[in-house]
């Protein structure tokens, strides 16, 4: 086994720089806060600028399908930056989950055509599973396929309200299949759920005999869904690293300038030690997140274990970072007009997203031959 490349390459750094400078102009936290209570909680314009000016909405997609022909490593860098700004864009549903699922079904021409629309940003997609679904969960059974139509209900579907298309796992007469749903079709009801995370939305999808083409069936459908969820869990680890790093940086800035007892509060050892531990945790989180992103470019077995390690580490670490961020800001951190709650909501929700740490540890128990009693 050759060593994974755990560093950032030059192209990845350039990608980071260009995304970061766009976000600096277009996505400061006051804008994010203002938007999250408005009629349009997603920043569709930012998403289309990311698509057309930077071409980063289709990083996973090969060039012949209209994408950037990059891969999970680059996508992970994008996720770090978007996480760092808690950008309200459909990264996870569209550029990660739906795109990976459809790519795994791309011999179906409707799937590859749909991938192109997601890559170019002309459409937004999602995968119709509860957002808490872990990669190893059994194939979902809440939607039934009968006579080429879908019926059923799926709660907590990510990015649902802006999704034009949804990849729907459903059980048909001949077993599991993936279907490509047009969300404007008759019989589709999308109901937003008031989210804990104001910057990434969820909703309930109800389907009443909605016609939708099947893009994969049987084991292929199961593999495609597993692949999409594994990729998403791996990329999510990088988003969590970006978010945690932001929390640390802004806390360090704050405690250096906030004076109490005639000293910067950052000079108190109780504060210094907590931040030193957080920094060490983030260094580790970055290493495992890079490992997962790199592993996603290779064999699925190595990816399985690397992603499980990364998620079980990063999903708790990001919550620690967001909670320390709040606590060390004192009362100001509890106010609505401060971004701490945006980060906390994203961090805490992301901890439950795509499997908790415990679920990922169970995966490790299986893959690492450490059986339960």
């Amino acid at each position: 086994m050759s060593s994974p490349n755990l560093l950032y390459g030059e192209v990845e750094q350039e990608l980071r720089d260009s995304v970061r400078s766009l976000l600096r102009d277009r996505c400061d936290w006051t804008a994010v806060l203002a938007r999250c209570e408005s009629e349009h909680p997603y920043d569709r314009q930012l998403w289309s600028t990311l698509a057309t000016d930077l071409g980063v909405t289709g990083l996973l997609v090969p060039e012949e399908l209209g994408g950037a022909g990059a891969g999970p490593r680059e996508l992970a860098v994008l996720a770090e930056e978007l996480g760092s700004s808690v950008a309200p864009v459909p990264l996870l549903g569209s550029a990660v989950m739906a795109t990976s699922a459809l790519l795994a079904c791309s011999e179906a021409s409707v799937a590859s055509e749909a991938v192109t629309t997601l890559a170019t940003g002309s459409a937004v997609g999602t995968v119709a599973v509860p957002l808490t679904t872990a990669p190893d969960d059994p194939f979902p059974e809440s939607v039934r396929a009968q006579d080429a139509t879908l019926s059923g209900t799926v709660p907590t579907v990510v990015d649902l309200e802006v999704a034009d298309k949804a990849v729907v796992p459903a059980i048909g007469e001949d077993g599991p299949g993936l279907y490509l749903l047009d969300s404007s079709a008759p019989g589709v009801t999308r109901t937003p759920i008031t989210p804990l995370d104001l910057t990434r939305r969820i909703g309930t999808l109800e389907l009443d005999r909605v016609p939708a083409p099947r893009v994969a069936t049987g084991p292929r459908a199961e593999r495609a869904l597993h692949h999409a969820l594994t990729t998403a869990a791996g990329v999510l680890a990088s988003e969590q690293v970006g978010l945690a790093q932001h929390c640390l940086d802004s806390t360090v800035d704050y405690v250096r300038t906030r004076y109490q007892f005639g000293r910067a509060v950052g000079s108190f050892q109780a504060v210094k030690h907590r931040l030193a531990d957080l920094w060490a945790g983030i260094s580790t989180a970055r290493a495992v997140a890079r490992d997962a992103a790199d592993a996603l470019t290779g064999s699925s077995e190595e990816a399985g274990i690397s992603v499980a390690v990364a998620q079980s580490y990063c999903c708790d670490l990001v919550v620690l970072a967001a909670e320390e961020h709040l606590q060390l800001h004192g009362g100001i951190g509890m106010t609505w007009e401060h971004p701490a709650h945006l980060y906390l909501g994203r961090a805490k929700s992301s901890q439950l997203t795509l499997g908790t740490a415990e679920r990922h540890r169970n995966t490790i128990a299986t893959l690492g031959a450490l059986p339960a009693p």
């Binding site: 560093l7 580790t284 580490y313 540890r361």
Partner: protein
């Protein structure tokens, strides 16, 4: 620059000229040093060939594969990890030539005479005096917690040469001959029953000025370099998954289903994840070094290593249940190496407690990270500009 293939070729050429089976062990090691294949990142003539440090593993693996003798590194961790880089960095050409070769071959092992009863974390407060007499320095004082002083031939030592100066400014660094009649080593028994460390009494010990390292008064700066190297040496290491402590308990888990409980399973998996994460973090650090972008992450490695060793060794006793109540041997042994995994689980549990104290306590490391990496304000220093001799103690 030399790459991995080039190094492999050199090792093979060396082995074809020096059959490890037919050569005396020391002759073999000396020849390896002279061929620049000892520590490849050292300069030519001093055991290396100026290769990237990260390529050392390539060389070690090549030698190990042929069953060639090694320099028994665990008996000389302080020499290899701390004394050598400090001598290389601050020694005169003569000192480097005199000391580095026998140090690397293990002919001469080293210990570290830094800590004193009154100066541990606050090393700069130490009070062992060194007074110049002609070409010599005369030392009086007491050192403590000195690991392997009973086997060491040489010591790195810091002593006070200017008591009237503020504490950081009056120190000088020496290389001390442990066979000098003024040096007395007494075993100091530790919680494991053995005496790995010692008290060392210096009563009129004599050190020639030629064994002073660096300038008079520069001792603090050089000692800081030594300690940085110590932390890198302690934190680094393991490259394969499930090496070290976590591998031991994972194997026990697999072999002994009757010990398993749900609560222990949960904890084992948490420790497994943390160990794997720490391993990947060290690997990332190594890659940063190879790519010429050394990061500050090294200071975190020792923190993680200490914490994990303690948690896993504590877990191991609980896992072993009744067996966890027993201990292998309380007799006052005098070990000649420090290796956590060599003895029983009870020993590991006790010995791991030292990991967050030796080489800088975990609290001190957190101060260092907060100040040097995060740029937070330094601890208040009431003693910084006060002459050492006027400090309360």
């Amino acid at each position: 620059m030399v790459d991995a293939d080039e190094l492999r070729t050199r090792v093979r050429r060396f082995l074809s000229e020096h059959d490890p089976a037919g050569t005396d062990r020391l002759d073999f090691l000396r020849a390896r040093f002279d061929a620049g294949l000892a520590w490849v990142h050292y300069p030519v003539g001093l055991g290396g060939i100026d290769a990237p440090r990260a390529l050392q593993t390539v060389v070690d693996e090549e030698f190990a594969a042929t069953g060639a003798p090694d320099n028994d590194p665990l008996t000389n961790t302080i020499g290899l990890g701390m004394a050598a880089p400090t001598i290389l960095g601050h020694g005169t050409e003569e000192q480097r030539r005199r000391f580095l070769r026998p140090l690397w071959t293990g002919e001469e092992t080293w210990c570290q005479l830094f800590s004193e009863p009154g100066a541990g974390s606050d090393l700069a407060a130490l009070s062992t005096r060194a007074v110049r007499e002609g070409d010599e320095w005369v030392l009086d004082g007491q050192k403590v917690w000195t690991s392997l002083a009973h086997t060491a031939r040489w010591a790195i030592l810091v002593a006070r040469t200017a008591p009237g100066a503020p504490k950081h400014k009056g120190l000088t660094y020496f290389l001390c001959d442990m066979t000098d009649p003024g040096v007395e080593v007494r075993p100091l028994r530790q919680i494991t029953g053995e005496a790995e460390f010692n008290e060392v009494f210096l009563s009129g010990a004599r050190i020639p000025d030629s064994q002073r390292l660096g300038e008079v008064g520069q001792g603090w700066r050089i000692a800081m370099d030594t300690l940085m190297n110590e932390r890198v040496a302690i934190g680094g290491g393991n490259t394969a998954r499930e090496q070290g402590m976590i591998g031991i308990v994972s194997e026990t888990w697999r072999q002994r289903p009757e010990l398993r409980t749900p609560g222990l399973h949960e904890r084992l998996l948490r420790l497994w994840v943390e160990s794997e994460a720490a391993r990947v973090t060290s690997e990332r650090l190594r890659q940063q070094l190879v790519a010429g972008q050394p990061g500050p992450e090294g200071s975190a490695a020792k923190l993680a290593f200490a914490r994990l060793n303690q948690l896993i060794s504590g877990f191991e006793l609980e896992l072993l249940s009744q067996q966890g109540l027993s201990y292998d041997d309380w007799s006052l042994r005098r070990p000649d190496s420090t290796e956590l995994t060599s003895r029983s689980p009870g020993y590991r549990y006790l010995r791991a407690k030292g990991n967050s104290i030796e080489g800088g306590t975990s609290e001190i490391l957190r101060n260092i990270i907060a100040e040097r990496v995060l740029g937070l304000p330094a601890e208040p220093r009431t003693d910084k500009d006060v002459p050492w001799k006027e400090l309360p103690r």
